[in-house]
């Protein structure tokens, strides 16, 4: 029997959050953490609340804090997470809890929207696609794959301290995705909007973001590129 400890909080009935214990029969199978949550909801307690959708690590719904590390429940196998037969599941840290494992992601999304996450190109569009060399397209690899799960930003101490002013690793990864796109013409405007002490420069290179990203992306490196662009711009 796997010992599972789940963070519970219902704003309607609970004055404070608490951890609730469940014994789950996994049949010795190396299930994913999401499978365990589904079993708890189906067989133990229908009120346990979490988000989930694709169950294959591409939609970004089920970012959770699993035995102390942020990750996606659907692609985290028990063999990676469980220590001493114990699984502790908490919501992503640093964001307000709506209920149980569901956090309010408004601040996270607001930072994403702040970097104007869309291609900006005011020249008249050709009758076919805009051409881009495979080399220029390759510059977007490692950037466009972000699934907005918030595992990175909610593992970042700088984001915990300044979630309203520091864009955070997820937002900055996307900022660089557009700065790096040969089709985008708003480089100057984008950099001008990031050029303050908080938006980018609150990153202290702790690299928690790199450590937790379930897609293997490297926000710290992208932030480094933005810093260089900002410094070159000032020079």
């Amino acid at each position: 029997m796997l010992q599972v400890s789940v963070y519970r909080f219902n704003p309607e009935s609970d004055a404070a959050p608490q951890m609730q214990e469940y014994q789950v029969e996994t049949g010795g199978k190396d299930l994913m953490v999401l499978d365990v949550l589904e079993m708890i909801k189906a067989e133990h307690d229908a009120s346990v609340t979490y988000r989930r959708s694709c169950r294959e690590g591409v939609c970004g719904s089920d970012g959770l804090n699993i035995n102390g590390k942020n990750g996606l429940a659907c692609i985290t196998p028990l063999s990676d997470a469980v220590k001493k037969n114990k699984l502790v599941i908490r919501p992503l840290p640093g964001l307000p809890v709506v209920r149980d494992l569901v956090v309010d992601m408004s601040l996270f999304y607001a930072q994403y929207e702040k970097i104007e996450p869309y291609l900006q190109n005011n020249s008249p569009a050709p009758a076919i696609e805009r051409l881009q060399t495979p080399e220029d397209r390759a510059k977007l690899d490692g950037l466009y794959e972000c699934i907005l799960c918030a595992c990175c930003s909610t593992s970042c101490p700088s984001f915990w301290w300044n979630p309203d002013r520091f864009v955070g690793p997820a937002g900055l990864l996307q900022a660089y995705r557009f700065l790096a796109d040969s089709r985008d013409q708003a480089t100057d405007e984008r950099l001008a909007k990031l050029d303050d002490p908080f938006s980018v420069f609150r990153c202290h290179g702790i690299q928690n973001c790199v450590n937790v990203c379930p897609k293997g992306l490297n926000p710290t490196r992208a932030i480094g590129h933005i810093r260089t662009m900002l410094l070159n711009r000032a020079a």
Binding site: S47, C54, C59, S61, P77, Y109, Y118, L119, E129
Partner: protein, 587 residues
Amino acid sequence: MRTISFDGVIVGGGGAGMRAALQLAQSGYKTAVISKVFPTRSHTVSAQGGITCAIASSDPQDDWRWHMYDTVKGSDYIGDQDAIEYMCSVGPEAIFELEHMGLPFSRTEEGRIYQRPFGGQSKNFGEGGQAARTCAAADRTGHALLHTLYQNNVKNETVFFNEWFATDLVKNQDGAVVGVIAICIETGETVYVKSKATVFATGGAGRIYASTTNAHINTGDGVGMALRAGVPVQDMEMWQFHPTGIYGAGTLVTEGCRGEGGYLINADGERFMERYAPNAKDLAGRDVVARSMILEILEGRGCGPDGDHVKLKLDHLGEEVLESRLPGICELSRTFAHVDPVKEPIPVVPTCHYMMGGIPTNIHGQALTVDAAGDDQVIPGLYACGEVACVSVHGANRLGGNSLLDLVVFGRASGLFIEDALRQGIEMRDASVTDIESANERLVSLNERNDGENVSALRKELQGVMQNYFGVFRKGEFMQEGIKKLDDLKQRIDNVKLEDKSNAFNTARVECLELQNLFETAEATAIVAEARKESRGAHAREDFTERNDDEWLCHSIYHREGRAVSKRSVNFTPKTVDTFQPKVRTY
């Protein structure tokens, strides 16, 4: 109950919904998207291999008419030729728009959009060999497309009601659709969302089967709402089983793997598709490949200790091709099959993937019903696009890469049409208090009931019935048995118990409401599958093994009332090309 009013409301924030929303947001009318998940969590995100369209990048001679021919043939001739003509001819414009919006397509050496071969594709009306017509962003095309559409909706300041769940349609005294009842999941508040145009872009319902590539959220919400409101559904017997779901996990492995040169092998290591489809081999239609795999397994040539799957061989493509063209597949295979495709083949099995049927619509997305005389009638106020709609461009079998094209082209078409209709002025009678109350009855009764069975157990039972009795191969007597089991489930699911009555972010409530939508979808599927006494496309019957054009070269229509099944003509009159006449379908 509070009322909020819009000119247009789109239910569903996947590719179709967001493409329609983008069109309307640019129009200046007051529109909103209601989505039960944050839009980028929608199932479009899972689409891998690409979006098929004759943009003439890989082959400068490529022609949308060849794509049309392939699609008509793929549909086993019950795709509507006016709709297929529209999709294939408008497609390039819709793709170039996406690229201009920033979609990070993979590229050719010339800098154009990269296209790969997919199943059922040909040049020159089947005479010129395999085509490469599927536009790709590596093997993450759905992700790239969905995020690009979301980003452009952010740019255009679309109003999103994220994590709101639509429960039922509201109809006025004239039978016109005038909005939906919706729950704000975070607070539990129920609201009447009033609208002059209600667009269903609610996606599929693969979760009616135990084994599916589909996300947890694909629960047929649009089909359920439509049927309960007296709107019929079309071709619901046509479910696509994707040849390559990962054995055990059900997660999808793109057809693009076979497009890039991968192939299926049985326990003897034999490339068995050479026997079933000597020309197209592993790139035959999905229905053909899925059936061939099942036959290999049934004839004892399956892999593994139970001989219950086959394998997809990719290692001969080399690590460089796999990591650049199919990086997502490498990741999924390692996570869910514990197999590194660079070294070993991936265990795969046909898995429920796509609902070809849905709400019948015309090419403008207007929902249709069929009157007593058998004539199409537009349902005022209701539109549908994407997987929940049946235009029908897929007929009895969808070609790979055509779903993304379908949702972009018809999401766009719905938006364009509604924009025009709003400009001309839409006058509808307001819903009365009784109209709103009657739409809200299902939710009220769920909230008030204190007994009943557990939602998860009922869902599992339903999925088991569909898996066992309505799978890849079907037989009349088994299906009748399956229908009896569904009859037994009907009342139990109507009376499902809501074990958690709280308001804040109550996902137990959503799951109960979704289960009832799954049931409506499953029942419609079962009834028409039993009724269509022939084999066509994805609908393969052991007791009627041949296609029967004399009786069944038509759509099936299912009405919930009395579980009535009728026939509807297929469109054979495209506007600019000659009709493609039904032929024997071989690959």
